[in-house]
Amino acid sequence: MELTPDQRAILEGARGPYLAQCMRWLVEWGEVMGARRLVRCDNTHVLLCVPNLVARGASARTLETFAEGLKEACRHPVAPHCVATVHTLFVTLDPLDVPENDPGQVQVQREIAEMAARAGYLTTFTCAPYLVGNVPLKGEICAWTESSAVVYANSILGARTVRHGNESAIAASLLGVVPEFGVLLDENRRGTLLVEVRAELRHATDWGALGYFTGKIAGLGIPVFDGVRRPSQDEAKQLCAALATSGGVSMFHIAGVTPEAPTLEAAFGGKVPRERVIFTERDLRETYAALRNATGDEIEAVILGCPHASLREISRVARWLEGKRVADGVRLWINAARVTRCAADEMGFTALIEAAGGRILCDTCPTNMRIACRRLVTDGFKQAHYARGMTGAEVIVADTEACLRAALTGRWMGDE
């Protein structure tokens, strides 16, 4: 890879050993991925989280060494031209009386959060940075972790980011550059798979089903959807999350929606699609059925806000719950960024949700916290997929209103 004299000097230690290591990570990663140069990056979304139960049973020494790595990163300031937000945690910084929120890890996370804020990170602790003010413009080069947010940035906003890990996103934040490969380059942003949608997408969870179906087929490819209307922001959020859950998709196109795809032809760069699939009403129904594995109808939890809920989603839940009561023993949790919850507090939505017996969970989500649950209902395909795989829960995925109805009775009564 060709480096500028300044970049080479950093690699050789001119700005200290930590930045030299960061530069080495970016350069070696770029060489592996076929990059020819580093390009300026003005926008990052980084992981700065202690592992909590992801590392259940790890030695104290491992946890300390891991935390020290994050603290070392936070001793260096974010590049002045770079906006840097912080990804979801594995703990919540709120008081939460569940054994899964390890108090020792919460304390270490607080220390890291304070150091990160001083270093110039915006401590958003969310998987949906685009809902809390990190909205890159078309063509803006970013370095984002969180696969669902990567898909959103590339496909809905027209910004450009490959899927990052914590080290590369931290390095990009401090140095303000990234290796140029993958969807940063025009030739790698063209569609590879045409998806003809012949099913009616009635609500956001149906968009999730479309994503979950397509991700399995697309793998690392770039699907182009034909026959769909313009999604709302909340619907787009579900599509992006599900595509990145069942597949390794970094971006998709919808003609007239994706900023660089005014037409279907433009989405494919004038080429003929390599592959074509049809998404029918039957595929829609079967996608739900394949993920659902509940063996009974009594439920323990209703989980909304995967990816983190928007203010609009919270407002709709709050108004729906007004004057109603969640069944005893059922956890109705809506995951959201702390910033969004603060707005919901001001607008009275939090009070309505809490009066009904629900809560807004900030900074994280129950699956990231590895909260054990026998059977849950959720409106997010991503949440259902990972809750099933990582906590062994039985899951039912359904639209938001069906989830809320289940919360009131403690029983899954069906979709209608």
């Binding site: 070696e28 592996v32 592992p51 590392a55 790890a58 491992t62 969180e146 696969s147 390794g248 990582m390």
Partner: protein, 146 residues
């Protein structure tokens, strides 16, 4: 008696490591399918379910990328249960990043399919710097005992 097979490969992440091979013609996600503390594959129904990756030369089609891949590898490394080396058919960018930051050698593009020549239990030396993979197999293993 033993036999040694030397194959050329393309070094992806530099370094040299050796260990007993663990082979599956499958993909693996370090997020959700691997426990970083025990080093075992926990993915339900995965061909390697229950197997430990600790010190093994992991021969798989590719990893399936997740932002958390480097983090899981880092924790596994600190717990001394990380794989010794990767032999992959395809390079997943996030596994490559995880291998770079954790100093785990990785090779790809062997001169023949790794699933045809490497069996679980073979002793494998991966030299990603030189681009060579050496497979050492005792007679007992060669006749199916390994």
């Amino acid at each position: 008696m033993s036999e040694t097979i030397r194959l050329r490969a393309r070094g992806v992440v530099r370094g040299r490591a050796e260990g007993v091979a663990l082979v599956a013609d499958a993909t693996l996600s370090f997020w959700g399918e691997v426990d970083p503390v025990s080093g075992k594959v926990i993915g339900k129904g995965h061909p390697l379910e229950g197997q430990s990756l600790a010190g093994r030369v992991l021969v798989i089609r590719s990893t399936r990328g997740s932002s958390a891949t480097p983090m899981v590898l880092n924790l596994a490394k600190l717990e001394n249960v990380a794989p010794a080396a990767f032999i992959n058919e395809e390079v997943d960018s996030l596994a490559a990043l995880g291998a770079i930051v954790n100093g785990i050698p990785m090779v790809t593009d062997l001169e023949c399919s790794p699933f045809e020549v490497i069996r679980t239990g073979d002793y494998v030396v991966v030299d990603a710097t030189e681009g060579v993979v050496e497979i050492r197999r005792t007679e007992a293993q060669a006749s199916g005992g390994g």
